[in-house]
């Protein structure tokens, strides 16, 4: 009666062989006696959740040598979303880390049956993503480019070729498609059982029908897990509870925020066709029709991501309800229409069932993994945005590496739990946001896209003022930031129509803001930056920071230091500016989304010393960036203080008065390489100072500017940005920032050894600036990030960010160049000569553009320079 999918699960679970393997100590079948085996009193790791994520983590942990693992499942293994999952393994992903996870999963599942003896239903069918519009085709071409350079076969094909690959498709409205021949289908429940089988062979204990009530925490560390069958003491807890992860995270005394929310997800199962469909027929993804279609037991399985999703379990519910969810045909109607439009011959096909299977979604459509910032030893892997089976293998592997080695083998910052904080954990926020996220699965992913829901949460005190002056907003970590200001009388396109891969409609607006930054003075509200104050009664602050940061912080009071916060491998955990306010107190500025990560990093590493205090003062200051050659004039008129370079050299910090307001922290940095100042203003003075600056600035041609202008300025100056260009796998040596590292500062610091080694042996990748040569700004596709870089026709790396430089009148891409041995593919040391002696091309959606590589910025750009460029150049920057 129920799907065969489920029948398989039950059979497998009841299979004697399986029972022997997983529950060797059980006396009889689990259905007769629910709790035949008592729980162990302690274990190294307790994993909660027996779906694809939990079993994958158990599988990988046990493979890496950790044996003392207990996996708890409240119902039966693979019984939640995993059971209902459509079972499509697709590598066509936009984010490179997701692509890598999917690729690994595919390879893992392929050999899983052989490894475990459990049938996984793995079938290499390939997948075809259809494009009904040119824009969609561009989007597919971009994915194809990144798949190809990763060695995953993939091609862009014509509608005719689509018809040859799949007999039922109506191709009349198609402009093209992307074919990924190695994509596969699996029975997701069986994959999960296979992983569990292998894990239990490796010693993992699996207990079904055991639910976790909460996790006990002492001194910020996991100590035990409380279940309905007793307590298990443990060092590590892994929350793989899927859509219940949020509630589980909040069940303990020390809440762990896991922002995800479930939505109903529907797919259709049919009886077999008269001529049953071949089981190797490719899976069809029609994002413009918002549907996917796979073959299923001679018939089809088709679901989709509707425009009007139905979030559920907002109040939190128990698991039972997942089984009783109603089919909603009226809701499914648009998807059914899309299906029949795509495959008109299916009209006569008989319906078997409409399955309603909740999926969990996250606020940014990326999954959640990593360690809790507040509770050590509490790991999370959840929020798969309906791609659980594609990510399952890879995500489990990265998390296992993270737990065992302290860090995964790839940069997983885009998926890190610490990109979120408590502020994304409101139920209302999540409910509203996932209603936007789910349709986005099928929407065109274009550059500079902003979420529209859950906005105006954190705002600067100047928000209304700026908004009234035409500000257009984007959001970062809940904070509203200005993109640009639309001049009065000028109108931009509607949000939907403004989606483009080409020149955007704000081009001239940002151009004039950049011009003003170059020639006069602009104000940018940059209040969103994360700001910490660290102080101590003695020298503890200095000593600790000297250990945690690579640059020398023992500078005279009033100096600002740009420095990386490195990990043991020398990679950037954070990139910040630190001002020494006094002998014993420091003011630290980091990127907006570092608020949770950086706090956790420092908290875990600063000595537990009552003399040392760290405070998050982000909310206390409004930050105004005065950029431009006339900034000095505005500021000196407002403060009656000499601001000439002699009195106020670059990288300096002074408390002074601006207008009536006293105690404004003024720093001679702008994060762009342009001359100017950052003003850190206690929020109650914000409006006053802003008004004074604007009034006084009038005669110097002052105007408001936004982050797009800032971004263009910083990229043309070759400034890297943490989170975009820099990550935990990038060292200062690799991005030309040796001068921010004081290897000889007289004391050890984190990452020192790794950097010393790199200094001796050279680096294996190098941050490089590319100027596009034959690129027509008006006609050609714009670069974004993630474009493959080719050197003498060979792939050498990817771009990490790009912007149009209004000064060079060219596009500038920043990215990393690697050196692969031509024969072995082995990574070789990248030398300056290697960079300089190559012909470069950047691949934008399959079209290659010549590019000039540079390791240093254009000095001729600094026409308005008034300080030593070296110092300001070393400036870290933000966007």
């Amino acid at each position: 009666m129920f799907l065969r999918l489920l029948a398989d699960v039950r059979w497998r679970a009841a299979n004697p062989k399986w029972r022997r393997m997983t529950c060797s100590q059980r006396s009889t079948s689990s259905t007769a006696e629910p709790y035949p085996v008592s729980l162990p009193a302690q274990a190294q790791v307790v994993i909660c959740g027996g779906g694809i994520m939990g079993t994958s983590v158990a599988y990988h942990l046990s493979k890496m040598g950790w044996k003392d693992i207990v996996l708890l499942e409240q119902g039966r293994l693979a019984a939640g979303t995993t059971r209902f999952c459509a079972g499509i393994v697709s590598t066509a992903r936009h984010v490179s880390i997701e692509l890598k996870m999917a690729d690994y999963s595919n390879k893992l599942y392929q050999q899983l049956e052989q490894e475990t003896g459990v049938k996984t239903g793995y079938m290499k069918t390939g997948s075809i993503s259809l494009a009904q519009t040119q824009d969609r085709l561009i989007s597919l071409k971009r994915i194809a480019s990144s798949l190809n350079v990763m060695g995953i076969p993939c091609e862009i094909i014509t509608p005719k070729q689509v018809a040859q690959l799949h007999p039922l498709i109506n191709i009349h409205d198609l402009v093209g498609a992307m074919y990924v021949p190695e994509d596969a289908l699996v029975s997701s429940a069986n994959v999960s059982l296979a992983l569990a089988t292998a894990a239990s062979r490796n010693g993992v204990q699996i207990h079904e029908r055991t639910s976790v009530s909460h996790v006990s925490v002492q001194k910020g560390r996991v100590t035990a897990v409380e279940t309905d069958r007793g307590q298990i003491q443990c060092q590590y807890f892994v929350n793989c509870a899927g859509q219940w992860a949020y509630e589980l995270g909040h069940s303990g005394e020390e809440p762990v925020n896991i922002p995800l929310h479930a939505c109903e997800h529907f797919y259709l199962l049919t009886h077999p066709l008269k001529e049953p469909l071949a089981s190797n027929l490719p899976t069809i993804v029609d994002p413009d029709g918002r549907i996917y279609i796979r073959n299923w037991q001679g018939g089809i399985l088709s679901g989709g991501f509707e425009k009007n999703p139905k979030p559920l379990f907002t109040e939190g519910r128990n698991q039972l309800e997942i089984h009783n969810l109603q089919e909603d045909w009226d809701h499914f109607e648009p998807l059914l229409s899309a299906l029949l439009r795509r495959m008109p011959d299916l009209e006569a096909l008989q319906i078997m069932q409409l399955v309603n299977c909740p999926e969990s979604f996250t606020p940014d459509m990326r999954c959640i993994m990593g360690e809790s910032p507040t509770v050590r030893g509490y790991f999370v892997l959840a929020g798969m945005n309906s791609a659980g089976i594609s990510y399952g293998g890879g995500a489990g592997k990265y998390l296992a590496e993270w737990m065992v080695n302290g860090y995964p083998s790839e940069n997983v910052w885009p998926l890190d739990l610490k990109r979120f904080g408590a502020l994304q954990s409101s139920r209302t926020f999540l409910r509203h946001r996932v209603m936007e996220v789910m349709p986005l699965m099928c929407d065109l992913k274009v550059p500079r896209w902003d979420f529209q829901t859950g906005r105006q949460l954190r705002t600067s005190p100047l928000y209304d003022r700026l908004d009234a002056q035409g500000a257009r907003w984007m959001e970062k970590h809940g904070f509203e930031r200005v993109k640009y200001f639309v001049p009065p009388g000028k109108d931009l396109l509607d949000l939907d129509q403004s989606k483009t891969f080409y020149k955007p409609d704000w081009f001239d607006i940002v151009g004039s803001e950049v011009k003003c930054c170059k020639e006069a003075v602009c104000v940018i509200d940059m209040s969103s930056f994360t700001k910490f104050e660290i102080s101590s009664t003695g020298d503890e602050a200095l000593e600790s920071l000297q250990y945690l940061f690579s640059n020398d912080l023992d500078v005279p009071v009033g100096h600002v230091v740009h420095t990386g916060m490195l990990n043991e491998k020398g990679g950037y955990e954070n990139d910040c500016s630190i001002a020494r306010l006094s002998k014993r107190s420091f003011f630290m500025i980091s990127p907006t989304d570092q608020q949770v990560h950086c706090w956790a990093w420092l908290k875990n590493r600063l000595p537990d010393d009552s003399n040392l205090t760290m405070e998050d003062v982000t909310w206390k200051y409004t930050a105004l960036n005065l950029i431009g050659p006339r900034a000095v004039d505005v500021l000196s008129e407002l403060s009656y203080a000499p601001i000439t370079p002699e009195h106020f050299p670059s990288l300096f910090c002074k408390e002074m008065s601006v207008g009536y307001a006293n105690g404004i922290r003024v720093m001679s940095i702008t994060h762009t390489g342009e001359p100017g100042f950052m003003l850190y203003i206690p929020i109650e003075y914000a409006l006053h100072v802003y008004n004074e600056v604007m009034n006084m600035g009038q005669k110097y041609g002052i105007r408001n500017a936004g982050y797009y202008a800032l971004r263009s300025l910083r990229i043309e100056k070759f400034f890297a940005f943490w989170g975009q260009d820099l990550d935990a796998f990038t060292t200062p040596m690799e991005c030309g920032r040796e001068f921010q590292v004081k290897l000889e500062k007289g004391m050890q610091f984190v990452g020192q050894e790794a950097l010393l080694e790199q200094k001796q042996n050279g680096v294996y990748k190098r941050f490089t600036m590319f100027i596009l040569e034959d690129h027509d700004t008006d006609m050609d596709l714009w670069p974004w990030w993630g474009e493959p870089i080719f050197r003498n026709g060979r792939y050498v790396g990817k771009t990490t960010s790009s912007a149009y430089s209004y000064t060079l009148e060219r596009h500038v891409c920043l990215g990393f160049v690697q050196h692969f041995d031509e024969k072995t593919g082995e990574e070789l040391v990248v030398t300056t000569d290697f960079i300089n002696q190559g012909e470069y091309e950047i691949d934008i959606a399959g079209q290659r553009f010549q590019a000039k590589a540079k390791l240093y910025p254009f000095s001729s750009l600094f026409t308005h320079r008034r300080r030593k460029d070296e110092e300001e150049l070393s400036g870290y920057q933000r966007e």
């Binding site: 045909w329 109607e333 096909l349």
Partner: protein
Amino acid sequence: MCVCPGPRRIAIPVRSSRLPLLSDAMPAPAHLFPLIRNCEISRICSTVCYCHHKHLCCLSSHFAHSHFSYAPQKKFAALYRPKENFNHFIHMRDYASTPQRFYLTPPQVNSILKANEYSFKVPEFDGKNVSSVLGFDSNQLPANAPIEDRRSAATCLQTRGMLLGVFDGHAGCACAQAVSERLFYYIAVSLLPHETLLEIENAVESGRALLPILQWHKHPNDYFSKEASKLYFNSLRTYWQELIDLNSGETTDVKEALINAFKRLDNDISLEAQVGDPNSFLNYLVLRVAFSGATACVAHVDGVDLHIANTGDSRAMLGVQEEDGSWSAVNLSYDHNAQNEHEVERVKMEHPKSEEKSLVKQDRLLGLLMPFRAFGDVKFKWSIELQKRVVESGPDQLNDNEYTKFIPPNYHTPPYLTAEPEVIHHKLRPQDKFLVLATDGLWETMHRQDVARIVGEYLTGVHHQQPIAVGGYKVTLGQMHGLLTERRARISSVFEDQNAATHLIRHAVGNNEFGTVDHERLSKMLSLPEELARMYRDDITIIVVQFNSHVIGACQNEEL
């Protein structure tokens, strides 16, 4: 002076550029219907495009357009004899090189339909609504520019009960406007007991604050004329003074009060025009009121007693839910027009036998007027001498207007027209769920049975359809798709409306052959430029009153 919301608010892109061409340049009109294919035009012509100007149809072409004050001649030329023009449109279509496509989107359609919608819920007292009326929804869709229909709703404050009415004006909106402002006061005063009348008179006499008589429930677009309020008040005061003097002492019968109020107001309208006013604006106003006309259909609801007073061809209809849940319609008014044998009989009785043939011609009174009873229309009430005297002594505008100077043919024994209403009393029963008052614009396009069903289903929320479940049935994808599409079509029109009257108008204008709302058709009908809208439809004004079955049931039991 008329406020005209609705279609005018929507800028119709083709209109402004081609308006001057309308009278002489023929290719232009083809642009008007880029979306209506030839066959569709003929369909629409055959179904909807009969002349709605029937109230005054057979006047010479210059009078065909009922607005007599300032209508430019050019406009008339294009409007007159629409069928001929349409033949032109059809031919001209071939010449239109690049037909401009324009379509109203569903939101635009909604904004037009909802521009005049109004809802009133009777406030609950102590958590309970003790009134037999739950509330009402009303709405108007103009076809004339400005609209000639009016509506009113008010709660009587000194007596019990609620008054609701629709008024369909002709030959301009002045009379309908005046009636909509004044009639309820006349009714309320007629209903007042002697003591209250005295109290009010004393208050006016001594300059004290007046007891409020009516609480109006008005849409912001329903306006009252400020200039005439003094004049109107004086007439009303004279009326109640006379009532005080008469002092019958008997308790007022609602039916009698309604008839008296109607007749008295019509009389006052007539007198005011004869006397004139020193203020030239007012003088012109009272003349326009008297020379234009209006029908009225008024409901007075007090507990289980429902009185309908009707003058003219607007209609009141009761929606009754049968035991099996189906809906049926009960007429609570008779149309006063040529289709009503009793009316024809009555008119013939009132005039000499010699006039029998000329009294009703082409289904019209004296071959001219569609409704057989109406307010105003002094051309059908005054003697020829009086008409001439008033017009000649009237302001120039009036004198210049050919319509006012025109005397109906075979005009021998005035008056031919009366404003006396026919009053029907109905005791409300629990199965009486709602009352629809509407001008003939609605009844021309919809049968009352359909009206009862559509409103009934709307109010009881039948549209919240049962979910579909496949269960064990054999259903194909195609069948399911068909079923879902149909459900969607049915649902979509309901969910868009929060107002039963709007919902009804949507059906009246947009219904296709199958009785479901066809958005394309709706969009076309509403996209008509105002010069043409009148040929396809009349002004529609609807009030849907919802009854409180619980209260009615309780009242019934008490009485038993």
